[in-house]
């Protein structure tokens, strides 16, 4: 049975990656289970300069999901590379440095630093964070800025470059094609959906930023559809995410075209969620007599 996957020179032992922003830098979850079991870990989104993040309420539960407005709080790229990556380096798992930014220059500098760090295997460029005022998702909404930032980052990055896409893009397939053309080695989708929750007694948004990012099982069917659309349009591998809780959920994404999957919000539902997904994929492969995930990848068109 084979469910490993190679993204250029980087080998994933299994297709499950802990999604950025739900897993910190791995410390907390390393107390829950052996991180060597994971296909990969995508770090908390990190920017060139440290960010304090958003004020006010930062999360709220929604039907079958949650919203967050963390606003890319992070200790800076330099700090992450020096203080956090060495810990992740101890594990036999692929480390994706999730890189955020608000200008092309800051994306390029941060990606360049991450690319030069031995403990980082892949750069995951986040052009889809809905929770920061300038930049972030602004780059992922239209093709032109997406192509430009990915093109500039591609010039400095030697490691595989994954671009994390926003479901809020005006035309997701066009953005995916643009970043592929600009040099992305893979795309990951979807980041959170821009959403709104109103406190009706205060007659105000729950969030200072007005809108916040919706994630969790609530978005899964839309995410599967988007992965399918992008898979059919691009030639680079697709990493699927959006509300995956079980192995069966992951198989849906794989049948829609995903080569790898990420597990995010589910880490809050059950600290062993990633492990359950890996186990669930194995069980499905055994019960269905699947020897290699390539047999079912993108099988539904």
């Amino acid at each position: 049975m084979n469910y490993s996957f190679d993204l250029k020179e980087v080998s994933f032992k299994n297709p499950v990656i802990a999604a950025s922003g739900t897993f910190g830098f791995g410390h907390e979850f390393s107390k829950e289970y052996d991180l060597n079991l994971l296909g990969g870990i995508s770090t908390k989104g990190t920017t060139l300069e440290a960010r304090s993040g958003n004020k006010g309420q930062r999360s709220c539960e929604t039907p079958s999901g949650m919203m967050n407005s963390v606003g890319l709080e992070n200790p800076s790229m330099e700090f992450m590379l020096k203080e956090e990556i060495p810990f992740l380096q101890k594990f036999d798992t692929v480390v994706l440095a999730n890189v955020g930014g608000n200008t092309i220059d800051s994306y390029v500098k941060a990606a360049d630093m991450a690319d030069k760090c031995e403990g980082v295997h892949i750069i995951e460029l986040n052009i889809s964070c809905p929770n920061v005022a300038h930049g972030g998702m602004a780059f992922g909404i239209e093709e032109c800025p997406a192509r430009e930032v990915v093109g500039e980052v591609h010039k400095v990055v030697k490691k595989p470059l994954v671009v994390k896409l926003s479901p809020n893009a005006h035309n997701l397939v066009k953005v995916a094609l643009a970043v592929e053309e600009a040099g992305a080695d893979a795309v990951s989708l979807v980041n959170t959906f821009s959403a709104m929750k109103i406190d009706i007694r205060r007659r105000k948004s729950v969030f200072n930023n007005l809108y916040a990012g919706l994630s969790g099982p609530a978005i899964r069917p839309i995410a599967v559809r988007m992965v399918n659309e992008v898979y059919k349009a691009v030639t680079v591998p697709v990493i699927g995410l959006g509300g995956i809780v079980s192995g069966e959920d992951a198989i849906e994404f794989i049948m829609a075209g995903a080569s790898l999957v990420q597990v995010g919000t589910a880490n809050f539902m059950n600290t062993s969620a990633c492990i359950n997904v890996i186990q669930g994929i194995e069980n499905f492969m055994i019960s269905e007599g699947i020897n290699d995930l390539s047999e079912i990848r993108g099988i539904v068109k």
Partner: protein, 236 residues
């Protein structure tokens, strides 16, 4: 700390405004002010519920909670023998190893962690403010040196902030802010237990960040108890 399944011993309503105390069987170890992530359902609601340790004894742990939404509604339906999943204890609790004269102040739901806190200290004075009725008076009285209770109004007026070396407080944000102002310039050093919406409960997701004079802190991991002087209350 992986999630483990336990059995409910009892689960009783204790007030007219839907406050409950649930006892769960097991051998637990937790500092005053720490909390567990409670879950008695599979996938929905999505998030577990962070609830502080109300009491702890031989073979049991107790949680006090108010039914405010879907999760606590499910918790309130549990009966003796039902399963409940607990992960924890998480966070840093109150500094119960401090020496000196200590007062505990609780308001509303904030009285919950103060029973176990009182038990871990040497008979501190306990000040509790309630909305409609005094709850669990005998339990708190047994653990307190002197118990002062009040219904309505503010219990903060009943405390002499020069009579104590430390004050440990838990209550609504407005009460904690008012306490910081009242205690200013007096002898007592104030520790507050903060409440923020949480998701992971263990320090990974950064949705419960609290801004302090010493930088960003995680309420779930660095707190929920903080030295009040360091908390930037206006930015919470």
């Amino acid at each position: 700390m992986p999630s483990v399944s336990y059995r409910v011993i009892s689960n009783e309503i204790i007030s007219n405004d839907n406050m409950w105390v649930m006892k769960v069987a097991g051998d637990f170890n937790a500092r005053a002010g720490q909390f567990f992530m409670l879950r008695a359902w599979d996938k929905y609601p999505v998030l577990s519920r962070p609830i502080s340790v109300h009491d702890l004894g031989d073979g049991y742990i107790a949680f006090m909670y108010r039914v405010v939404g879907e999760g606590t509604e499910i918790l309130s339906k549990l009966v003796k023998g039902d399963d409940i999943t607990l992960a924890g204890p998480y966070g840093n609790g109150f500094p119960v190893d401090l020496t000196g004269k200590i007062a505990l102040i609780g308001g509303g739901m904030g009285v919950a962690p103060l029973l176990w806190t009182a038990k871990q200290l040497n008979k501190p004075d306990v000040y509790l403010g309630f909305r409609e009725e005094v709850l669990l008076e005998n339990e708190y009285k047994a653990a307190a040196g002197n118990l002062v209770t009040k219904i309505g109004g503010t219990i903060l007026d009943d405390v002499d902030y020069d009579a104590y070396d430390y004050v440990f407080a838990c209550g609504p944000l407005g009460m904690e802010k008012a306490l910081v102002n009242m205690a200013k310039g007096h002898k007592a050093k104030v520790y507050v237990s903060l409440e923020k919406h949480m998701a992971c409960g263990m320090g990974a997701c950064l949705v419960c960040t609290c801004f302090t004079s010493k930088g960003n802190k995680k309420v779930c991991k660095d707190g929920p108890v903080f030295l009040a002087d360091e908390v930037l209350f206006d930015e919470l």
